[in-house]
Symmetry: C2
Subunit: 322 residues, 2 copies
């Protein structure tokens, strides 16, 4: 079969011809139709992820076929018994085990779900990792309620856009931030009430003036802007952090945190139970995950290039088998 393989740390991904994985007890073989990129894949390709082993086939998100049924996969494996946090055995499809940027992928049975019928293969592939992360952040961690104001930072990223969809479906007032005005406009066209460019020094004041403050923040960035996030928080607001693309947090005021009685939660993916609930939510609200662009498998480098330049709004999809 054809697979996108990483051979060495400092080498671009190659299209390799390798044996189809062997079906085993408990694990089944899925013929992959579409796969979607995550930032995790980019870091793995760049050699910047922890504990990379070579060779490896990356890829966590897919829509494919098993026994004629259209399926997708919960890529978060071995979560463990504690709903509050993943176990030490937790791992994500696509490292260390081979992932789904290949014509076939072997996945333990219990992680397979029927793909929601109202989605195309591309849309279904776009859903799993972003969907589970957004669902846990918004509902489990932040206990989001209809009518609340929410700020979603870094709009354009897969989790951010999926959170926007969930929040709007849940009846929330959505505000976004980005370093790109055109991404803010796209978010507004999807139902956001407004947005601010965090490159403006006074973005926090701007956001307060358009929103009156927010009850929830879903943040992927950390870094310097995090210190200002708490300025847009209403009393008792909840902040959920699922990424750290802007690095270490600094200039964060403990006085604001305690006087407003803020809660700051870290989150990673989600439990199998949450994955099932997330799918139900998508089906119930007939949500269509936002596909930014679709690349042929052979154009994988161009796909990663688009992600590295932060040009996408929604998910970048690879077409694997026609």
């Amino acid at each position: 079969m054809k697979a996108i393989q990483l051979i060495h740390k400092d080498q671009s991904p190659v299209i390799a011809e390798i044996p189809v994985p062997i079906e085993s007890d408990g694990a089944i073989l899925i013929k992959v139709s579409c796969a979607a990129l995550n930032h995790r894949d980019l870091w793995i390709v760049k050699g910047k992820y922890a504990k990379i082993k070579y060779p490896v086939i990356p890829g966590s998100d897919l829509c494919g076929y098993f026994n004629g049924q259209r399926v997708l996969v919960n890529p978060g494996m071995n979560w463990g018994d504690n709903e509050s946090v993943q176990s030490k055995q937790f791992h994500i499809l696509g490292l260390p085990e081979n992932g789904c940027f290949a014509e076939y992928v072997s996945v333990p049975k219990e992680y397979i779900y029927p793909a929601p019928e109202h989605l195309t293969n591309e849309q279904a592939a776009a859903l799993p990792l972003a969907g589970i992360t957004a669902y846990r952040a918004l509902f489990t961690k932040c206990n989001a309620r209809p009518g609340e104001n929410i700020l979603i930072t870094g709009i354009g990223g897969g989790v951010a856009v999926q959170t926007l969809q969930f929040a709007i479906a849940h009846g929330m007032n959505v505000y976004v931030s980005s370093s790109s005005d055109s991404k803010i406009q796209k978010a507004i066209s999807l139902g956001a009430r407004g947005g601010v460019n965090y490159l403006n020094d006074n973005w926090d004041q701007e956001l307060n003036s358009i929103s009156g403050g927010v009850h929830i923040v879903i943040d992927s960035a950390g870094g310097n802007p995090f210190g200002k996030l708490i300025n847009v928080c209403l009393p008792a607001a909840r902040i959920c952090l699922y990424g750290g693309s802007l690095g270490l947090i600094s200039e964060l005021s403990p006085q604001v945190i305690f006087w407003k009685q803020l809660s700051i939660f870290g989150t990673v993916m989600g439990t199998p139970l949450e994955f099932g609930k997330m799918l139900s939510f998508v089906i119930q609200h007939k949500l269509l995950p936002v596909v930014d662009s679709v690349y042929q498998m052979t154009d994988v480098s161009a796909a990663f290039d688009r992600m590295e330049r932060k040009q996408q709004f929604g998910k970048i999809v690879l077409r694997i088998n026609e």
Copy 2:
């Protein structure tokens, strides 16, 4: 009556002779036996608190008499309807209204509680503000469970020492930090399993080696050491922040926060319901709040001096009426 009064911003507190407050509908007059200092009072005396009005009598913690009954007061007033956060009308006895560093204080009826019988007047005065803050942080915010490991930073401060007592009574394994080795030794003599001096660069590694990591941190400081707090946290740990004596938080890793799925909570005082529960807990476990030292009312400057030099371990008490 005699009262400790602040007349102007840049003037030390004076012992003034002023009229006894008039009893009014809803508010009753308490004859103050003992009062206790809080950091808040120090900041007010230094002119560093928000919205100070002059003249004012500071003081939030007291034990006194009303109708021959020994009483104490919940100093957190007008909390409001939202258990998650205090209302805009919330204020603390001792600013803007006159507080209890006086022979008499007028307090709305609903904030008066019988003083626990097993406590001396000094111990009872030491309890309210530190007790309610510690109770909410430990139980409401962090959902502390017996057998869990807890780090209490800045041991010696009133809330920290009260948290230590509550945690030990609750069957937890207590670790402490301080910049003073002798305070760490005092904490150990009260039942802590160990402690680390946060002036040592590798205090986080030291603490991990003696504790194996902690499930809960109760922090009063923020500042630079906060970035290392998350290194001693076990997965799914909860951090509660009730102060910011070391200033802005910096070098805080979002990756550690999200991968460990940490929760960081800000907290202020507590609700009337929590105040009642706190008193019950103290009575049930026959806890004796730690009194660091007792000063006569006329020695108030020496008392504040002791607090400013961070010499205390537990509460500094003023004897008002013999």
